[in-house]
């Protein structure tokens, strides 16, 4: 893993407030906290983008059994080829 160093400017009070809650939230260092927040933010962005894409793919009224039948059908078509 290649790491890059990042410098931030932040108000002293904010940093002190962060330091107070770090261990309560299960983080040992500011670095750990920052990485976790970054991952969370990226995950949320991906989830929102994916949700939007899936909205466009959604077929109303389709049931689990319909999907089972659809998969069965295309597999049997493939087997006949």
């Amino acid at each position: 893993m290649t790491e890059t160093q990042v410098l931030f400017r932040v108000e002293k009070e904010l940093l002190e407030a962060l330091d107070k809650i770090l261990s309560r939230q299960g983080f040992r260092t500011r670095n750990e906290w920052f990485r976790a927040q970054l991952r969370k933010a990226l995950e949320e962005t991906s989830r929102q983008r994916l949700s939007g894409l899936l909205e466009g793919l959604t077929v109303k009224g389709v049931r689990e059994q319909d999907i089972v039948e659809m998969v069965r059908e295309w597999r049997s078509k493939k087997d006949r080829r």
Binding site: L57, V59, I67, M70, V71, W74
Partner: protein
């Protein structure tokens, strides 16, 4: 926690709004699928893409889903277990799913097709889960945290 998903579940997450999609998107580090399932989903998009969404967007949806929400496991991981899997499941297209479940620690295979995944020999080796059981397992795991 690790749960193996089959092609049915992948397709449902793509085209069905509701509980399956919610479980997949809400639990990013839980689900895995053999690469064969993802390939099958891509190759059959002409059948399930009823709204004629352009391929580029389907590709993006599949990439995002497999990048963050359903980890794709490549064949070398489970290839060695395929001969055993063939003796446990009739449909050759389900062999990769069973082989993967035999190859890695997991809580079970999530499928809608519990009928095909119901031989005593298979059930002696892997747990087969319906959507309700997956929901219950994940609820329990959230409460454990």
């Amino acid at each position: 926690m690790t749960i193996v998903v089959d092609t049915n579940v992948m397709i449902a997450a793509l085209i069905q709004a509701g509980i399956v999609r919610g479980l997949v998107l809400g639990n990013p580090d839980v689900f895995i699928a053999p690469e064969e399932c993802v390939l099958e989903a891509w190759e059959t998009r002409g059948d399930w893409n009823r709204r004629r969404v352009p391929d580029a967007l389907i590709r993006e949806a599949l990439d995002l889903m497999t990048d963050r929400f359903v980890a794709v496991v490549t064949r070398p991981t489970h290839a060695e277990r395929e001969p055993e899997a063939r003796t446990l499941i009739r449909d050759p297209d389900d062999v990769p799913v069973v082989a993967l479940a035999l190859a890695v620690d997991n809580q079970g295979i999530w499928t809608f097709n519990t009928k095909d995944f119901s031989t005593p020999e298979l059930l002696a080796r892997v747990r087969v889960l319906g959507t309700g059981e997956v929901k219950a397992l994940l609820k329990g795991s959230t409460e454990d945290r």
